[in-house]
Amino acid sequence: MNGIVWALLGAALAAILAGCGSAYGVGAAGQAASGVVTEDPSKFAKVLVIQLLPGTQGIYGLLVAFITLSKIGLLGGAAADLTLSTGLMIFAACLPIGIVGLVSAMHQGKTAVAAIGIVAKKPDQFGKAMLFPAMVETYAILALLVSILAVNAIPV
């Protein structure tokens, strides 16, 4: 198998896994947010902010996918001729954000549901409520960094 297949598979997995995680997280938080808004529509803006927090992993996945695609030349027309080992390296570099993005977004979604509960009962504690889901995101950011640095450093 040619290296470029592995590289493309990596880019796709980064977008797929992280995107799935975010979809789950934002979806779960959205259900909780809808419940709050039916009771008190004035909390819309606050719960929306918290609902969006697990959405960033999908963006990070997209980011790595995009950097990878432009690295292997699929965006600029002519695809680079990759050896199998380079392709596998790029594949491995994409894995952190894919896997960590998936798991962290799901957990961040659950934390966001709980944080929306805080806003529902104590709207003035919004700052603290926002912080709990943000703590989970740290690990997605670390994985993103490793993926970016690794993809960037692989010579093509």
Binding site: F66, L131, L149
Partner: protein
């Protein structure tokens, strides 16, 4: 940068001035009433509950009347009207409204009555419509439903709760009563749920026939009327039309009341404010002739408040310092710039009386980090200009909104600066547009460097900024120790950490690991290397011995010291946490570029340009929104978790002065204190 000092301000005055003094204090709004400290046997509190509730009800009545008005005659509001804030009105206008309050109360009651009338009419229409609905199956009947026949014949009208055919009915009847002399059955209407039938027979057979029909599940209709169904429907429709007319007329009456809307708002606020006054009145202790009021007021305002009160009324004022151990309510005083982060600080927790107000340092780093995370000149420009216009356009917006918009304006400027440093303007919009539409290659060169080309460099800088942030946090802790004259704590908890961490960093810098990460080859002279080792060891030893100094037991003391030394891993993770500065900055830039690239796929021509503009606007709004949120959340996190973790506890209670809290308007007052 300061937490305002508070003093206890107590007034003893004559009862006759009670209301005037309370009103004066309410309009000044600089005293937080707290009468819990006053004790005395002759003192009694007045029961104001019923008065207060009456005022609250009146205020609520006006609010409800306003809601009714808004329903039938909506106010013209723009999307941004929530930013407008409360209108400012002249004192004499307000007074005129107060003189007119009986008429306004009546007006509010009238509006409510009219609203109720409409609601009742609507309910009646609903009822009539249900009646029409139940009548519909009978429309083909040309006698009234209650019709029961002529002199010789009987007519049985009713329905069967299922679909049956004429044949089935005849068969059923024949099975029960055999052949009747004369009988006619008509199906008026039929659907799956019921079949309406009219049966005609001779009078003497009526009972037999009806019994036979009952075996089919036949029943007489509940609705009976002397009118033919079609006529009855016409009548019901006429009634509905009449009710509709009445509703319209009533709506007209309500619309005519819309002139009172503004005054009703003031009216509602007037009673709201009075209810607040009576709430305080209920808490103040009173003797036969005098009353006492006490509370917190900022030190710098207390003297002028005393002077003002003493000039107007016969009273005794007592100003006391508050004992060290008592917690006071917290009021912060900061300039425009530092004040803009007060909202962020407040949502973590205000400082306590003995803590330092971190607003000033925090504001600098907040805006710095926010800009670094968003780092796009275009987005920064949009943010700064939008906030600036809103601030100019709506000068009377609520205070919280005002500080937030100021904060975002400053953050926008910072984003603009970082964007210029990193060469990002709506991602790579300049390059794409010039390349696709003009065939030239113009690249917006970064003033500093492009992060995507050298992410390691920005990572190192991010960690460096983080280290500075954390060290400043530690310094603030040291400052607080010095202020409270805790010199030993200052040395053990601050200086030793500086020495220890400083030594570790200086050991790290020349190491092979750092060189390969940063591509910077730092070589220290051997003396510095030795110094670094010495500092690290001395710091570690000091921490090991001193951190557990609160414990008398030497073993426990060493254990506590070792545990504190373990905190160095906390420092490591704190510093690494600042890598999010790089990650979020890259995310903005790369996704902006994706948007541009998607837009440029339509090619050059006019058609391509239109596609580009649409994708550009939608895509960049999306990207900006999502990254603004990210930058906001993660800047907050860096402040709350990493920075505050080094020195700040918070937990102060906000200063809530006794003042008029209104919903709609503010009355113009000359500033006195």
């Amino acid at each position: 940068m300061s937490v305002l000092q508070m003093q206890r301000f107590s007034i003893c005055a004559m009862k006759k001035d009670r209301k005037a003094i309370l009103e004066e204090l309410q309009s000044l709004g600089i005293l937080e009433v707290d009468t819990s400290v006053i004790e005395g046997e002759v003192l009694e509190k007045m029961d104001t509950l019923s008065q207060k509730q009456l005022f609250e009800r009146t205020s609520a009545l006006a609010d409800q009347a306003l809601n009714v008005l808004a329903e039938y005659e909506p106010e013209k509001t723009s999307m941004l009207s929530s930013l407008e804030g409360k209108a400012l009105i002249e004192k004499q206008d307000y007074q005129k409204m107060v003189d007119n309050k009986e008429a306004l109360l009546q007006s509010a009651n009238e509006v409510m009555a009219l609203g109720k009338e409409i609601a009742e009419s609507k309910a009646a229409i609903m009822r009539l419509e249900t009646q029409i609905e139940t009548l519909t199956p009978w429309l083909n009947l040309d006698v009234p439903i209650s019709y029961n026949g002529t002199r010789k014949t009987a007519v049985i009208i009713g329905s069967v709760g299922k679909a049956v055919t004429l044949e089935e009915i005849y068969t059923e009847i024949a099975g029960h009563v055999g052949e009747l002399e004369a009988m006619d059955i008509q199906i008026i209407s039929e659907n799956s749920a019921q079949t309406c039938i009219a049966a005609t027979c001779l009078k003497q057979d009526a009972q037999v026939l009806e019994d036979a029909l009952r075996t089919l599940g036949f029943s007489r209709p509940t609705q009976t009327s002397n009118l033919i169904p079609a006529e009855q429907r016409a009548q019901l429709q006429k009634e509905i039309a009449a009710l509709m007319m009445a509703i319209e007329e009533t709506e007209g009456k309500i619309r005519a009341k819309a002139n009172d809307r503004e005054e009703l708002k003031w009216f509602s606020d007037y009673y709201r404010v009075r209810a607040q006054k009576y709430e305080v009145l209920g808490t103040i202790p009173q003797s036969k002739r005098t009353f006492l009021i006490s509370g917190y007021t900022p030190t710098k305002a207390s003297e002028s408040l005393k002077k003002l009160m003493a000039e107007k009324y016969d009273l005794v004022v007592d100003i006391e310092e508050i004992p060290e151990e008592e917690e006071t309510p917290i009021l912060l005083q900061n300039g425009k710039f530092a004040g803009s982060v007060e909202g962020v600080l407040e949502s973590y927790g205000l400082p306590t009386r003995h803590e330092v107000d971190p607003s000033k340092i925090m504001s600098v780093f907040y805006i710095f980090f926010f800009g670094l995370m968003l780092s796009d000149a275009g987005y920064g420009l949009v943010m700064a200009v939008a906030c600036f216009i809103l601030l100019k356009r709506f000068p009377r917006m609520s205070e919280g909104m005002n500080t937030s918009l100021h904060l975002f304006m400053y953050c926008g400027v910072s984003t603009l600066v970082w964007g210029i440093l990193f060469g990002g303007f709506f991602g790579d919009a300049v390059q794409i547009v010039s390349n696709v539409f003009f065939g030239k290659d113009i690249v917006l060169a970064p003033v500093w460097f492009a992060p995507l080309e050298d992410p390691m460099k920005l990572l190192i800088y991010s960690l460096l900024f983080g280290l500075i942030h954390l060290f400043i946090g530690l310094a603030v802790k040291g400052y607080m120790y010095l202020k409270n004259k805790q010199y030993l704590d200052f040395f053990c908890d601050v200086i030793l950490w500086y020495v220890f961490l400083g030594g570790l960093i200086m050991m790290l810098l020349p190491s092979q690991m750092f060189v390969s990460m940063s591509q910077m080859n730092i070589v220290f002279p051997p003396a510095v290397n030795t110094l670094a080792k010495g500092m690290a060891i001395a710091g570690a030893a000091g921490l090991l011995l001193m951190s557990g100094r609160s414990s008398k037991n030497p073993v426990l003391r060493l254990a506590l010291g070792a545990y504190d030394l373990y905190n160095v891993t906390g420092w490591l993770s704190d510093v690494l946490s600042y890598s999010r500065l790089l990650a979020l900055g890259l995310a903005t830039g790369v996704i902006a570029s994706v948007m541009n690239q998607m837009g440029s796929m339509g090619g050059s021509g006019i058609f391509g340009a239109i596609i580009f503009i649409i994708v550009f606007i939608v895509g960049h709004i999306f990207n900006m929104a999502i990254n603004l949120l990210g930058a906001y959340v993660h800047t907050n996190r860096l402040q709350y978790v990493e920075f505050f973790g080094k020195f700040y506890e918070g937990g102060g209670r906000k200063f809530v002065p006794f003042k008029a809290i209104t919903n709609y308007v503010e009355v113009k007052e000359e500033k006195k204190v």
